[in-house]
Amino acid sequence: MANRIKVLLSKLGLDVHSRGLITIAKELRDAGMEVIYIGNSLPKEIINTAIQEDVDVVGVSSLGGAHLTLGGELVEEAKQEKLTERMGFVIGGVFPPVDAAKLQEIGYDAAFMPGATREEIVSSIRKIVSTKANRSF
């Protein structure tokens, strides 16, 4: 199944809220993607796992306010490892709309706020992968 999208999902840092990310994990799997869920991790560990597992997309979740601090660190790490060209980076959680725009500015391919639907998330991930890896789904 070379054409199957492989996604790594993680909670950023110490955020306690996992309902959203667990739901996304199930939904992406139901949409035919391969999902690796690693729970709470720091940016460096997330990037290391992403490299090891050679995933197409890294998705992180933050509802506790660390979207810019740890979220920013994650894209920095990704850039250092030169991953952003071939790997998609998406983030979801509770943050103000201006921060959603900012997250996209600093390098996220998508930033999902409360209310994002399954359809929006799945199609956005497919689009990101087809652009970056030049694969169609």
Partner: protein, 586 residues
């Protein structure tokens, strides 16, 4: 031995079957009414409504209990006023735990507060008190909740977010600076048994330093295994049996030494918000309370000695009448459990005292001002149900921690309910409503059925350990998400009545800068200043107590006194108990 022990449901059923009922309605009149009702249904009610007589409201965190189109005495033909309701302040306390309810004591307006460093939170606490809040409710930041120090690499970028950063007694003292701890009641939102065992001793050590006797301290902690082992997503967990033991150690120590303190607040709230119905929320809290009482009896304590200080915490969601009925139903069920299963003698042990917080997950990001209305209805429902204290969520919480302005609207919502609507003048105003009584009965029955399900698995700790609860919750919230996406659960401004135009943005809270640096510096000074020999011996003493099964709290208290940090204390728990992997939820 566990197999043979009678279950809660069996005990209650046996007792209630034996009790003589005196139905309020005359049998003959009811029979006439039944005939008249059938005639009305067949002649006046539209066929379409007759066929869809029962409709199930699909609401956020709802229980999916079908409702009739019209409730009549026939919905509850055996209604026995004395047995089912009693007057307020009388057994079975369905109508309220006090005779005069809010005429005698207003509900406590206890808004959650906590962000940034202790100094910032202290300012916000004072702001809320100055605007008429009648209780304090302090929430801790993510590293503090998860029990890591502000200078731990894992805390980077998260210090002072979602709550206030506390590393040691010194921070605790700063949060409560200028606040008379012998006069106000303080709720410390120490969700877990582990962090209760660490943070509450810091509070006690602070009181010692100020010369306030512990007997004068009033307030509550949460101290609930459900939050540490089920609701939380975190990097490290201790095993459920050890967590449960710490929950009971906290209860025992606090009961013995801080007599006016509520040592446990069974927290249905976070579980329901994580994703479960209002029935499961209450069943789980009761099952945990039952398990705790059994353990305390095993430790040789009297049931009333423990039960008088038990408190509960609920999440009221969107289904207005369900929320009113739920509070009444669980109050009656708790009375029955305490009276018939545990043979409690003190009325106070049979009182279900509860705090509520309006539902966070019911808040929408779209058109955030609508959230004020949502929270107000939820708050009103619980006041009609007769709760003791309240937090109203703020309209901007789908974006961030509330601004001062939004926090004030929440407090004002409570004050408007209390002073402008007149609802607090009459006790249990919906008591006797055909609908509310039928729903109260149904909910009580369903809660008891779920308590029974947990007991049949082998009790509460087993239900957690084996992942039964984790799976139940995951199934519920996955299903709820599907119902929202399919439009079965309708949400105004989101999947129905969407705005055709983009509305202007609201002000959003910004975390104060520099908190992490300040906390790290304060910790560094502490580590330099304190007597590290005493620190090491306190930590070793704690480890020994953990391993030998002694109550851990006198030892965590000693740690707090000599200046151990939260992370240092939690490390001992991890070392002594080992780590546990919770079940995978998807």
């Amino acid at each position: 031995m566990n197999e043979k022990k009678p279950k809660t449901k069996e005990i209650l059923q046996a007792v209630l079957e034996d009790r003589k009922r005196t139905p309020l309605y005359n049998r003959e009149i009811l029979e006439k009414l039944r005939q008249e009702f059938e005639r009305w249904r067949n002649t006046t009610v539209r066929e379409e409504d007759r066929e869809n007589w029962h409709v199930t409201p699909h609401t956020i965190l709802g229980s999916e209990i079908p409702r009739e189109m019209l409730y009549t005495p026939l919905s509850n033909p055996d209604f026995d006023y004395i047995e089912d309701l009693g007057h307020s302040g009388q057994e079975p306390f369905t109508r309220g735990i006090h005779a005069n309810m809010y005429r005698g004591k207003e509900f406590t307006m206890r808004q959650l507060t906590g962000f940034g460093g202790p100094e910032e939170t202290n300012q916000r606490v004072k702001f809320m008190l100055a605007h008429g809040a009648t209780g304090i409710n302090v929430l801790f930041d993510l590293p503090t909740i998860q029990m890591y120090d502000s200078d731990d690499p894992i805390s980077r970028g998260q210090v002072g977010m979602s709550g206030v950063a506390i590393d040691s007694v010194e921070d605790m003292d700063l949060v409560f600076r200028d606040i008379p701890l012998d006069k106000v009641t303080v709720s410390l939102v120490t969700h877990y048994p582990s962090n209760t065992a660490i943070l509450f001793p810091m509070y006690l050590a602070m009181a010692e330093q100020r010369g306030i006797p512990w007997e004068k301290l009033r307030g509550s902690v949460q101290n609930d295994i459900t939050l540490e082992e089920v609701v939380r997503s975190g990097p490290e967990y201790i095993p459920p049996k050890d967590c449960f033991r710490i929950q009971c150690d906290n209860i025992e120590f606090i009961r013995q030494n801080v007599p006016l303190w509520n040592f446990v607040t069974y927290n249905g709230y976070n579980l329901r918000e994580f994703g479960t119905s209002g029935v499961t929320e209450m069943a789980v809290a009761l099952a945990n309370a039952i398990a705790t009482l059994e353990e305390m009896l095993r430790r040789g304590h009297e049931v009333d000695w423990v039960a008088e200080r038990i408190a509960f915490f609920w999440s009221p969601a969107s289904d207005f009448f369900e929320e009113i009925a739920r509070v009444r139903a669980v109050r009656r069920l708790w009375y029955r459990i305490m009276k018939y299963q545990f043979d409690a003698k003190s009325p106070r042990s049979m009182w279900m005292r509860c705090h509520v917080q309006t539902s966070g997950v019911s808040l929408r990001r779209e058109e955030p001002l609508n959230n004020i209305i949502r929270a107000a209805y939820q708050a009103l429902a619980t006041v009609l149900g007769g709760v003791q204290s309240l937090h109203v969520d703020s309209y901007d919480e789908a974006y961030s921690v509330p601004t001062e302005e939004a926090a004030l609207v929440s407090l004002r919502t409570q004050q408007i309910i209390q002073t402008e609507t007149g609802v607090t003048e009459v006790v249990d105003p919906l008591g006797g409503s055909f609908y509310v009584e039928a729903l109260t009965n149904e909910i009580e029955k369903r809660i008891l059925d779920e308590v029974d399900e947990i007991e049949r698995i082998g009790g509460y700790v087993t239900a957690v350990n084996e992942g039964w609860l984790h799976k139940k919750v995951a199934e519920y919230f996955y299903n709820e998400r599907n119902m929202i996406e399919k439009g079965l659960i309708k949400l105004v401004g989101y999947n129905t009545y969407q705005s055709p135009v983009e509305l202007p943005p609201i002000n959003v809270f910004r975390y104060p800068g520099g908190v992490e640096g300040k906390q790290k510096a304060r910790l560094a000074r502490l580590r330099e200043r304190r007597d590290n020999e005493k620190v090491n011996s306190a930590l070793t003493g704690l480890e020994d107590a953990c391993r030998r099964g002694k109550n851990v709290v006198p030892y965590t208290l000693q740690c707090a006194r000599v200046g151990c940090s939260e992370g240092e204390i939690f490390k001992v728990f991890k070392k002594a108990f080992g780590l546990w992997k919770p079940p995978v939820l998807w």
